[in-house]
C-alpha cells in the first residue's frame, strides 16, 4: 500500500490527526494547502473543523473548483464538517458544498458541545467488533438518495455512508486508534486506482 499518497485538506481542523491515522494505516499522508498538491495524491480527506472557516478559505490558495475537478476521478472522504461539504442542501450562502453525495445534513443537530457523545457502532463491512465513535457537535444525516450505501447507523440514523467515489462520516474516526475506516478508504482508493467500478447501493 505504500505507493498510495493520500491528502488531507489542511485549511483548519483535525487534519494532523487524519494524517497520523493514514500513516498508521500504511499509506503516505500529505497535508494539502495548495491546488498544485492535488496532482500528487490518489485520494483526499476533508477533515472535521468548521465548515464556515474551510469555505471562507476556498479560493485563496486552493479553490472549490480544484477540489471538484479532483473528485471527478478520485475518492474523497469527508468527516463531520467534511461531510457537510460533500453533501447538499445547507441554506447558508457562506457554505460552499460540493454536492458530490446525494445527502442532506443538518449542522449541529445534536445540540451544543455538552451533548457531544461517544457510542459504539456496528460497521457493515466488519461486524465482529464495535467501532468506538466520537461525535463532536455532529451534523445529522437527514435525507439520503437512492444511490447511498449506509455502512453504519446510530439510533437508526445513518452515520457512515458511501456512494460512488465518496465516503462520509458524521463522527471522527481520526480521534480513535481503530484504523478500520481509514483502511476501508485506502482500499477504496486502491480499487479505483486499479480500475474497479466504485461501490454504490
Amino acid at each position: 500500500m505504500s505507493e498510495l499518497n493520500i491528502g488531507v485538506l489542511g485549511i483548519q481542523g483535525a487534519y494532523e490527526k487524519h494524517a497520523l491515522s493514514i500513516a498508521l494505516a500504511g499509506a503516505n499522508a500529505e497535508i494539502i494547502k495548495y491546488r498544485e498538491q492535488l496532482d500528487q495524491i490518489d485520494g483526499l480527506i476533508l477533515p472535521g473543523g468548521e465548515s464556515t472557516t474551510m469555505s471562507k478559505m476556498m479560493g485563496f490558495r486552493i479553490d472549490y473548483k480544484d477540489i471538484l475537478a479532483f473528485a471527478e476521478k478520485k475518492p474523497v472522504f469527508g468527516t463531520c464538517a467534511g461531510l457537510i461539504l460533500l453533501g447538499k442542501g445547507i441554506d447558508d450562502p457562506r457554505i460552499h458544498q460540493f454536492e458530490l453525495m446525494d445527502v442532506s445534513v443538518a449542522r449541529n443537530a445534536y445540540g451544543s458541545q455538552k451533548d457531544s457523545f461517544i457510542d459504539n457502532l456496528t460497521l457493515v463491512f466488519d461486524k465482529e467488533n464495535p467501532f468506538h465513535a466520537v461525535f463532536i457537535r455532529a451534523p445529522q444525516i437527514e435525507n439520503i438518495g437512492d444511490d447511498i450505501c449506509v455502512l453504519a447507523t446510530c439510533n437508526n440514523t445513518p452515520v457512515l455512508i458511501e456512494s460512488n467515489l465518496y465516503l462520509g462520516a458524521s463522527f471522527h474516526p481520526e480521534l480513535t486508534p481503530d484504523l478500520r475506516i481509514h483502511k476501508y478508504f485506502i482500499q477504496k482508493i486502491m480499487e479505483v486506482k486499479n480500475g474497479k467500478t466504485p461501490k454504490s447501493a
Binding site: 483548519q12 494532523e16 449541529n108 458541545q113 461517544i118 471522527h172
Partner: protein, 293 residues
C-alpha cells in the same frame, strides 16, 4: 451512549486546531468574526484591553448576551468564568456554552483553588505560564491549555515566554530517567501520572494553544512556529483600526503560518494594529498572568 467524557471534551479542542478564536462583545462583532473565518468566538462583555482601562471587578458575562451570540453564529461559542467560580461555570454549562475559559482576565473568585473541571460535561480551557501550571489544570480536567501571555496589552513577549517555557520543560522531561520523574513531579507541583505521560509522549495530553497579546498576522505565525496549535485573539482584532480585514488576515496567517509569501501578502494593506502597552511597564499587581497558580 456517553456524554461529557474527557475524550469528547478533547475532541472539540482537536476540531479548533489550525484556527483563530476571536473575542467578541456583541452580535455584530460575532458575525464579522464568523464571516472572516473564525473557528470559534469568545463572548464577553468587555475585551481585556477595556477591562484594564475600566478597572473594577470583572465577572462572567450576562447569559442573555452570550445566548444572543450563540443564536447569531453556527461556530462554537466560548465564554469566560472567574478562576475558582464554579457557580459561574455551572450557569455557562446550563445555557449551552461550547467551551468555558476559566480565565485570569476576570477577577479571580478563589485564590487557592481552581474549578474541579472533571465534574462538568462542558470542556474547559485554562491559561498557564509554565508546564507545572499546565499539568495542574489538566489534572483538574482542562481539555485545552493556552498560554496566559499578558492579555489586553498587544505585547507578545509574555505569550512567547510562556510557550517557550512550556515546550522547553517538555523537552527536558523527555530526556529524564524514570527514577527522576517523581522528584520532577514534586518540583513542578504536578500530578505524577500526567508528568509520566508527558515524559513518554513529548507533548501535552491536550491541545496547546496561544493567547495573550497576539495583535498581528506575524504574531500569530510566531506563536504557531513556536508550537501553538491555534490562537486566541482578544483585543487585537476589535481594538485595531480595521477589524474585518485584520480578522481575515489572521485566519489566513494561521492556515499558512509557514508560508512567508502569504504572511507578507496578508500583512500588507492593514491599517494600524492596536496601540497596546508594553507588558514590562505594568506594575506587578496589574499583570493578569499572575492570577491563578
Amino acid at each position: 451512549m456517553k456524554k461529557g467524557t474527557f475524550e469528547v471534551k478533547v475532541g472539540l479542542a482537536e476540531m479548533l486546531k489550525g484556527g483563530v478564536i476571536m473575542d467578541v462583545t456583541n452580535v455584530e462583532q460575532a458575525k464579522i468574526a464568523e464571516d472572516a473565518g473564525a473557528s470559534s468566538v469568545m463572548a464577553l462583555e468587555r475585551i481585556p484591553a477595556d477591562i484594564r482601562a475600566h478597572g473594577g471587578i470583572s465577572r462572567m458575562s450576562n447569559p442573555e448576551m452570550i445566548l444572543k451570540i450563540k443564536e447569531a453564529v453556527s461556530i462554537p461559542v466560548m465564554a469566560k468564568c472567574r478562576i475558582g467560580h464554579f457557580a459561574e461555570a455551572q450557569i455557562l454549562q446550563e445555557i449551552g456554552v461550547d467551551f468555558i475559559d476559566e480565565s485570569e482576565v476576570l477577577t479571580p473568585a478563589d485564590e487557592e483553588n481552581h474549578i474541579w473541571k472533571q465534574d462538568f460535561n462542558v470542556p474547559f480551557v485554562c491559561g498557564c505560564r509554565n508546564l507545572g501550571e499546565a499539568l495542574r489544570r489538566i489534572g483538574e480536567g482542562a481539555a485545552m491549555i493556552r498560554t496566559k501571555g499578558e492579555p489586553g496589552t498587544g505585547d507578545i513577549v509574555e505569550a512567547v515566554r510562556h510557550m517557550r517555557g512550556v515546550t522547553a520543560e517538555i523537552r527536558r522531561l523527555s530526556t529524564l530517567d524514570k527514577s527522576e520523574l517523581m522528584a520532577t513531579a514534586k518540583i513542578l507541583g504536578a500530578p505524577f501520572a500526567i508528568v509520566e505521560w508527558v515524559a513518554q509522549n513529548g507533548k501535552l495530553p491536550v491541545p496547546n494553544f496561544a493567547a495573550g497579546g497576539i495583535a498581528t498576522p506575524a504574531d500569530a505565525s510566531l506563536m504557531m512556529q513556536l508550537g501553538a496549535e491555534a490562537v486566541f485573539v482578544g483585543s487585537g482584532i476589535f481594538k485595531s483600526d480595521d477589524p474585518k480585514p485584520r480578522a481575515e488576515a489572521m485566519v489566513k496567517a494561521i492556515t499558512h503560518y509557514q508560508d512567508f509569501a502569504v504572511l507578507a501578502e496578508v500583512s500588507r494593506g492593514l491599517k494600524d494594529a492596536m496601540v497596546g502597552i508594553s507588558a514590562s511597564t505594568l506594575e506587578e499587581n496589574e499583570k493578569m498572568a499572575k492570577r491563578g497558580w
